[in-house]
């Protein structure tokens, strides 16, 4: 999975699709290149392959024939897990952002050649993308746990699992509010609750999302990894 050939093929294919989509959009949009369209696609092309990559990162160690050398390698369990985590976060982020920069240059060149002169270089350090990277780091931890926990179809099962958990949380929150406030009025008339209360709730959600979610899922991943057998 991690050999040079498959990395080059995957990266080239994704770049090709992104370039084709942007050229089609430019052609359909009066031959004017849309930066917003590129950024929107870039977000998708950054996040979804990242989750897929994370989901299959433990595939190699799911069978004895593939994973024996990894298991007997003299390194601590935590070192082995951190290596995979770094590969799917830091290394992936640097690699995919580099691909997006190269893609933007290719698109600029082709748009200039086919439609009208355009120069655009994707800037991965803009605030929008920094925020996306933080979201990626949080949600990636869920797929990391899914990669260790499930035997096959890791990406789809984890996505389904996330959707189910989110559905459960929404239901739980609605029922919780109903129990605390005694009626459904909070959803009909937000003025009945003080803004401070909403601020407090928002703060707690932020603390849980940004501060606790990823460490929790990574800890769970480590505990699963500790018990992994082949």
């Amino acid at each position: 999975m991690l050999n040079k050939k498959s990395i080059v093929i995957t990266a080239s294919s994704l770049t090709g699709v992104l370039v084709a989509l942007c050229l089609l959009n430019t052609w359909a949009g009066n031959h004017v290149f849309s930066v917003d369209y590129f950024v929107l696609q870039a977000k998708l092309f950054f996040v979804i392959p990242g989750f897929v990559f994370t989901s299959v990162i433990f595939k190699e160690i799911s069978s004895f024939a593939n994973g024996w050398s990894y298991f007997i390698l003299p390194a601590n369990r935590i070192e082995k897990m951190v290596a995979y985590w770094l590969l799917t976060t830091v290394v992936y982020i640097i690699f995919s952002l580099s691909i997006l920069i190269i893609s933007s240059l290719i698109i600029s060149g082709l748009v200039s050649l086919l439609f009208e002169p355009t120069f655009f270089v994707f800037n991965p350090l803009n605030f929008q993308f920094q925020e996306l990277i933080v979201h990626y780091l949080v949600l990636q931890s869920v797929y990391f746990l899914g990669a260790i926990s499930f035997q096959r179809n890791h990406f789809f099962i984890t996505t389904l699992f996330v959707l189910l958990v989110l559905g459960f949380l929404v239901l739980f929150s609605i029922l919780g509010f109903r129990l605390i406030f005694g009626d459904w009025s909070i959803f009909l008339n937000a003025d009945t609750v003080s803004p401070e209360f909403f601020e407090q709730i928002k703060l707690w959600i932020k603390v849980i999302y940004y501060g606790l979610l990823a460490p929790f899922f990574l800890l769970m991943s480590y505990l699963r990894f500790k018990e992994k057998e082949i």
């Binding site: 004895f64 024996w68 298991f71 007997i72 003299p74 082949i230």
Partner: protein, 281 residues
């Protein structure tokens, strides 16, 4: 060196493979681990290598728990499995990436073993045949200089010259600080190099004796048809072969015959060793 205490293991609940198994592996020996298909040889090797975890009991290597898979323990073990997939890189790249994890890895020795096995360090692993890949792994495993080398069916896939090269390499490499544990069905390939025989049947160690003791306690050979004084016999192409109590010094051990005899009646064979101790006392 390796101490297995009260080991229990199962793949499925209710279908126990090992139940309260005890085994002590001494240093400086080549062990032959024998047993029928499905007896648990490979599972036992995987448990010793830490790729499987015991349900109960402990496996201690020099006092360290193997199941914790710490780098200190894993530095002491190398395992050569029967079925393996190797990365699509050159031998030299694979060695550079992995050898650094083994503090006593001997590059010169590795190159010598590659020469002996007629392998080129610049070969791409994926271009090698199964037997050549196995020879690469054997050379790597020996060159790691780990105290415990676990080998699962090492001679499967090796051609005849390679089998003798393998035997030579193993005998040269074993020392009073290294132990090799070989799980095999090919007893004839390895009989000349084994120091101790361990046999598993139905999740239990039914036999565990040094070859030197086997050859002094038991005799192997042709049995006349009118004789009834034997422990086990079976018809073969060259007549009736059997095992009997040895009264004439050391004899050469027929491992296949011993294997069949142990499957037939291990208590009878083991009693000979107990009797010998009692007689000596």
């Amino acid at each position: 060196m390796l101490d297995i205490q009260s080991l229990s293991f199962h793949y499925q609940k209710g279908k126990s493979l090992f139940d309260n198994l005890n085994l002590e592996i001494e240093t400086g020996k080549i062990y032959g681990l024998l047993g029928l298909n499905g007896a648990g040889k490979t599972t036992l090797l995987k448990l010793m290598g830490g790729t499987l975890l015991p349900k109960r009991g402990t496996i201690l290597l020099e006092g360290m728990n193997v199941s914790l898979r710490s780098s200190e323990v894993l530095e002491q073990i190398y395992m050569i499995p029967e079925d393996f997939n190797l990365p699509s890189i050159k031998i030299t790249q694979c060695v550079t990436a992995n050898a650094r994890f083994y503090p006593h890895f001997d590059q010169k020795y590795f190159k010598k073993l590659l020469d002996d096995f007629e392998l080129s360090p610049s070969s791409t692993i994926q271009s090698l045949s199964y037997g050549q890949k196995k020879k690469f792994l054997i050379a790597f495993g020996i060159a790691t200089n780990v105290p415990l080398l676990l080998l699962d069916e090492p001679t499967n896939g090796l051609d005849i010259p390679s089998k003798s090269q393998f035997r030579k390499a193993m005998v040269e490499a074993v020392s009073n600080r290294r132990t090799f544990l070989i799980s095999t069905h090919q007893v004839r390939d390895l009989s000349s190099m084994m120091d101790q025989v361990v046999m598993i049947d139905q999740g239990k160690i039914i036999f565990n004796q040094p070859v030197s003791r086997i050859s002094s306690v038991l005799g192997f050979g042709q049995i006349p048809n009118d004789t009834t004084e034997f422990l086990y016999s079976e018809e073969s192409l060259v007549g009736r072969q059997g095992i009997f109590k040895n009264c004439d010094g050391e004899s050469s051990v027929d491992f296949e015959l011993l294997f069949n005899a142990l499957l037939h009646n291990s208590t009878l064979i083991n009693n000979c060793f107990k009797t010998e101790i009692n007689e000596n006392v």
